[in-house]
Each structure stands twice: as C-alpha cells, then as structure tokens.
Amino acid sequence: MTAQVNNLANLLSSTKEGFQFADIKLFVGSDRSTTAEELQEEVHKAVSQIRLGLVKPVDSIDKGIAKTNIGRFLA
C-alpha cells in the first residue's frame, strides 16, 4: 500500500510544465461498504489513466443532445 501511495503522490505531482498540483476532489459511488483503501485504489487507477495519457480526452460529453421544451410539462 505504501508503494501505491508513493506512486499516487508522484502521479499527482507530474503535471504540465509550469503547473503544480493544487487539488483533487472525488465523486464517490453508492456502495457504502467501500473502505478507504478501496477508494484510494480507485483514485490511483483513475489518476494513472489521466496523468499517464492512458485515456484520450473527449471533445464533448453531450454536445447536440436532443432538447425538450419545458412547456410540455406545464399544461
């Protein structure tokens, strides 16, 4: 676990030149039995994918998503 923690610290520090790591925040899942270690493991997985370029960023989450007029629900 110490090696993972050290690796996580190194990953968080490895940002673009001229920048420094300033903050991290999490959106936890619904499994209330998750331990702190398990959560940390997921954070490590997520940070690795982002910092090491293992996943490509997406241009759009929902651009052009079909819209609905709220008036439909006000009658």
Partner: protein, 207 residues
C-alpha cells in the same frame, strides 16, 4: 471572482433543456474561472468511485493571475445523466476555497477515509463538505430552481413523473425528489448567495 449565482443567472429564462455540460464548461472558461477543462472517460469501479477532478495551478508568475486546469474523469460506461452530473459537479470545484483544497497525499488519504465512513457531522472537514455541496451546486445549474418552481404544481399532483423530470434535465432520477424538497430550496439560496460555502452546518455564517 465570478460567482455561482452569475452562472445560474446566465442560464435564466430558458425553456429548452437540458443545459449542456459544454455550456457550463464554456461559461467557466469565458468568465475567467478556469483556463482549461478536459473530460476523460475512465475505467473505475463505479460503485466505489463515479468520477474525480484534478486541479492544477500555474506556478506563481509575477504580475499575472494564476492559470487553472481541470482534468475531470468520469466512469466511461455511466449513462448520460450520470456522466453529465459527475462532470458538472467536478466543475463546481472551480469555486472551492483554498482551505478546502486537497493538495497533498496525507489530505487525500484523509479525504478517502472521511468519504468512505458513515456520515458523522462532527468529522466533516472542508474538503468533504465541499464535495457534498458541489453535487447540489451542479443540480442548481442543471435543474434551475426557476424551472423547478414552474414544475412544482404538476409534480405534486402527479401529472409529471420523476422519470419525466429526470429526462427533461438529463439528471439521475434518484435526485429528482430532492429538488422539490423545501430544504433543498433553502440550500440552493445559501449556495447561490455564498453563505455556508466552507463551513459545517453548526457554525454561524458571517454577515
């Protein structure tokens, strides 16, 4: 610093929904909150972690404001409603006070411990507090109170369902009933006016 209420005001008067995540991102970049916001579809166990944000700040430059980068990870197989809420919630951390920032490994370990334990108000620290509040800030943007009030009568008399409301705003259905709770309305008023942003509930706000 441009406030959450300015963002909400920018989307006021809408009749077409949902508000796109890109609109929120573009507003934050345009009005100087953040300089770069990037979304990454990641592989995680969503029961444990739905998403996260890493904030990086430019190293201090004389006579220049800091630049900020947000890298937001969201579970790549989440349905669009969850992807949207996760991304929007993480963008809300653009407003986090310095005192709630988690910028070292010891604080991150503490955050993991606090978020994974059962909710005990006396153990809330600013980082945990800001995480919980950011979800409600995101909902305040994606499902504006102005429109919630328009829908209230038909929601209360059962003419529209929580599923229909979730689909209108493209938010997870599990949050819809919360939106019509009078306590939620008071919380949004507090968040929008900037009160209680960085304090536990039992500490008085400053004037």
């Amino acid at each position: 610093m441009t406030a959450l209420k300015d963002m909400i005001a920018a989307f006021r008067g809408r009749s077409e929904f949902p508000i796109e995540v890109e609109e929120v991102r573009d507003w934050l970049i345009k009005f100087g909150m953040q300089d770069e916001i990037t979304f990454y579809p990641i592989e995680v166990n969503p029961g444990r972690l739905r998403g996260l944000v890493i904030r990086d700040r430019s190293i201090a430059r004389p006579y220049a404001e800091s630049l900020w980068m947000l890298s937001i990870g969201f579970w790549h197989k989440a349905n669009p409603c969850w992807q949207r809420l996760v991304c929007c919630k993480e963008m809300m951390h653009a407003w986090d006070a310095q005192s709630s920032c988690v910028d070292n490994i010891a604080e991150l370990k503490a955050l993991c411990e606090n978020l994974s334990s059962s909710l005990d108000m006396k153990d809330l620290d600013e980082a945990v507090w800001s995480d919980h509040l950011a979800v409600y800030k995101a909902l305040a943007v994606l499902a504006p109170m102005e429109q919630i009030e328009l829908l209230r009568k038909n929601y209360e008399n059962g003419k529209i369902t929580t599923y229909q409301i979730a689909l209108l705003f493209r938010i997870p259905e599990v949050y819809v009933n919360d939106l019509f709770n009078p306590i939620y309305k008071r919380l949004v008023d507090c968040l929008v006016e900037g009160k209680y942003l960085s304090r536990p509930h039992n500490e008085p706000a400053t004037a």
